[in-house]
């Protein structure tokens, strides 16, 4: 209900309305269809203008909702949410999911990813004998244990020397073009290959690189320059490089397809800086040279005439000093689950936890 606005404005000064002012009945500006006289119309069962199309069927023909739904063709649409959930599942859980749906995961489904790698018989994808004799010879022990260890060490080194000759140099010398092969002269050529390989890697010269390093080494070295860049420079050679171990094996066994591997000890001073893909320094330094002692393995497919010595791998003996890894800084999140102090995880941690639980249960039962 409202009062005429003209009168209302006049009355703003006084609080009570004047008794002589007539009140006016509200009249809404809505078009009516005699609802007060027609109950069916009032309840919305009947429409006012039946000749006019009903534009709001979702509202005033709600009872036909299901029937209208049947007019749509139902499709099986790819569900991306479900797919993402399945992709995140572990194989075991995925198997359970499949079994729930009535799919046999062991018969009707193929593995999700197909992994294959190319293998050639021109190279060995590893180091045949990673043994390198320790530079500091073991002292003569005072007790029996020490003496035993010393004896073991000596035996091992004698065996190593014997293999260097028997399944190393002598086998190489039998091959055509290697009659005058000498391990004493191999050092300088190994140095050259090492340096050229690293320079080719730095400039990402793939064609040259494949002539200098093996496929095995390529898989290890290429990520350094495909996910970032490196800056490498040889400053000086502290000691002349020398051959430590020579091995020849054939692949497949007893086929005569001989492949030779030579481990060279290199004592160098070099500069190495590793950058991430945006050119930020991650590891090392561009100016500060470091002394490195490396045992580098070179490989040659000596069974063929056009085999070349190529850089193959590096050997890290147990007694060698460990290298410093990259330091990554990161934001520490305010997480309550973070332990305040570092805890060393024991070996067989899961078993130990189980054991402790069992003991605790036993104790509870006894009590």
């Amino acid at each position: 209900m409202w009062v005429g606005c003209r009168m209302g404005s006049r009355l703003t000064s006084s609080i009570l309305p004047h008794p002589s002012i007539p009140t006016i009945i509200q009249s809404a500006g809505v078009h009516h269809h005699m609802e007060s006289k027609n109950l069916r119309r009032f309840l919305g069962i009947e429409r006012s203008n039946k000749a006019k199309a009903n534009r709001n069927t979702h509202h005033n023909e709600r009872m036909f909702r299901k029937m209208r739904g049947r007019k749509t063709v139902l499709l099986e649409l790819p569900d991306d949410v479900e797919q993402r959930r399945l992709d995140a599942l572990t194989p075991n859980k995925l198997r359970t999911e499949m079994l729930k749906k009535g799919i046999n995961p062991y018969r009707e489904v193929q593995p999700r990813l197909w992994q294959e790698s190319q293998v050639t018989f021109q190279s060995l994808y590893g180091v045949v004998d990673p043994y390198v004799k320790s530079e500091d010879s073991l002292p003569w022990g005072t007790n029996l244990e020490g003496l035993k260890a010393k004896g073991q060490d000596m035996l091992q080194s004698v065996q190593h020397k014997w293999h260097n000759y028997k399944s190393g140099t002598s086998r190489i010398k039998k091959k055509e073009g290697f009659e005058k092969f000498d391990t004493n002269t191999f050092g300088p050529s190994a140095d050259l290959i090492y340096e050229e390989a690293h320079l080719a890697l730095m400039t990402r010269n793939v064609k040259e690189l494949h002539g200098l390093i093996t496929e095995h080494a390529y898989a290890k070295m290429w990520p350094d320059v495909s996910e970032g860049s490196i800056m490498w420079r040889l400053v000086e050679r502290i000691e002349p490089s020398r051959v430590v171990s020579v091995r020849v094996t054939d692949n497949p066994y007893k086929s005569g397809n001989d492949i030779a591997q030579i481990t060279v000890r290199m004592h160098l001073k070099q500069i190495l800086a590793v950058f991430d893909r945006f050119g930020h320094l991650m590891l090392g330094s561009e100016t500060e040279p470091r002394t490195t002692l490396e045992y580098v393995v070179f490989e040659n497919h000596i069974a063929v005439v056009d085999g070349k010595w190529r850089l193959h791998d590096k050997v890290y003996p147990r007694w060698v000093n460990r290298k410093e890894p990259a330091h990554f800084t990161m934001e520490i999140k305010e997480d309550d689950s973070r332990p305040s102090a570092p805890i060393s995880l024991p070996l067989r941690a899961e078993e130990l936890i189980k054991k402790r639980k069992n003991e605790k249960q036993k104790g509870d039962d006894d009590n």
Partner: protein, 277 residues
């Protein structure tokens, strides 16, 4: 909120300390004869520290249109793996069709992540170091591109953490989806790209592109059949290190101060005709 502010402040100090340390250990080195790479790095160390406002002023200056004949193609300084043109996404016969898979595709977007910039690279146009970026895309989402567009516009050029807060405040499918994608991108920044402070990144780009339409059908009155389009989209996101420009458009919109400057310039350029001076 306070915690976030604190962590941001700490981040700023850390970053500054790191920048200073990098500058001290890497002075310019020339004439070592190691080739192109080294010379570029020698140049690279000349970048000066500027604030975000100055940075975006320089970057937006590059937006002024240039005639194509005046354009200078910059030298290719970066390394990226070969883009295999013969390997197509579709199994169609023959040469790749330019009308198929044109524009931004998820493969191309991911390929940007594989670009390697030279050590200490400085963008010559701005004289500033290249900001670190993360390109991320979620593929084949069943959602309308038009509705996804609104959510994308909301976070466009906003700080990531701020964007996540804003998206979480709006409870719609589009915003929830975009928030998830942004979280994924942020996780990638720390895990994959060694970006230590992912909170200091901003959403440089966020946009949906329709990838597929599956057509359904619906019967109307009098056997009048019409198709229903079930649309699928790819949702693209690019995070960039540093602060955003503070505006959403291509260039900074002119405010009253700019207009005043322009008016002053006009006033001072007037000349009295046939005057002595």
């Amino acid at each position: 909120m306070l915690a976030r502010t604190i962590s941001r402040c700490g981040g700023g100090q850390l970053a500054a300390a790191r920048a200073a340390s990098t500058a001290s250990i890497a002075p310019t080195r020339e004439g070592t004869g190691e080739g192109d790479v080294e010379r570029r790095t020698g140049e690279a160390r000349k970048a000066e520290a500027v604030d975000a406002k100055e940075e975006w002023r320089r970057r937006s200056a590059l937006r002024t249109p240039v005639l194509q004949r005046d354009e200078v193609v910059p030298a290719k300084v970066y390394f990226a793996p070969e883009w295999p043109l013969d390997q197509k996404a579709s199994d169609d016969e023959g040469w790749p069709n330019p009308m198929k898979g044109y524009g931004v595709t998820p493969e191309k977007w991911e390929h940007y992540n594989k670009v390697v910039w030279p050590p200490g690279y400085i963008v010559p146009e701005t004289g500033l170091p290249k900001p670190r970026e993360v390109f991320h895309c979620r593929q084949s989402i069943h959602f309308s591109p038009k509705r996804a567009w609104y959510a994308c516009q909301l976070v466009w050029r906003m700080n990531v953490d701020e964007a996540l807060v804003q998206l979480d405040l709006q409870q719609t499918k589009a915003t929830g989806m975009l928030a998830e994608v942004l979280r994924e991108a942020k996780a990638r920044a720390t895990d994959e790209f060694h970006i230590d402070q992912a909170s200091r990144m901003h959403v440089a780009e966020a946009f949906p592109i329709q990838s597929n339409i599956i057509k359904g059908a619906r019967r109307h009155a009098h056997e009048d059949w019409h198709e229903i389009r079930y649309r699928y989209i790819h949702l693209y996101v690019r995070l960039e290190e540093g602060e955003g420009p503070g505006y959403k458009g291509r260039v900074k919109p002119r405010d009253g101060w700019d207009k005043m400057e322009e008016y002053y310039k006009y006033l001072r350029s007037r000349q009295i005709k046939h005057s002595i001076g």
